[in-house]
Symmetry: C2
Subunit: 108 residues, 2 copies
Amino acid sequence: MQLTNAEWTETEEDIARKAFETAYKREISDLIDSVKHKAISLVEMEDMWNLHDFLSAKRHEVDGKYDYRLPMLVFVFAGLVKDGWLSLNELEGLTSDKIAKISALARM
Amino acid sequence: MQLTNAEWTETEEDIARKAFETAYKREISDLIDSVKHKAISLVEMEDMWNLHDFLSAKRHEVDGKYDYRLPMLVFVFAGLVKDGWLSLNELEGLTSDKIAKISALARM
């Protein structure tokens, strides 16, 4: 299936932007909760460096994952659906073709 | 003054090791408190990446600073005294020559 050259209408772009931001806010909020939880349990230096490693990994992951370029969005949304940050019904309004691709990729 | 070729008796080494560990524990404990405090106030992503930057800097600083090699100890202790992690009287038992050097370097 062709994945990267799909056309996006203005309405679809609005839906995509909103879904993208929703997932991003959810993941960051969850991450903040995790960091707070880990911070409460800090006892020794090693715990602190573990927290540092965790933040390094998450920063890298988040920076790489939230790539808002139209040709990449199908992949981005598939990953977000797969990881539970977005549900397919939040993408309602995109063409059924795109939804089908996102859904298929999310199950891989 | 000659700084790096001083002799260390076994007693002095014991004192040095204890002082080194005391300062280290103090600094790490203070750092853990800072991280907990910063974590409580996390609201958005930027705060989290600021915490990550803070931890990166501190890890680098702490790793570099606590260098337990006898020829380096005069410098290490001077830095710890200067930054308030150790007081000169916790080094009591070292030769007056070493104390004088540490004290002079700490005031620089």
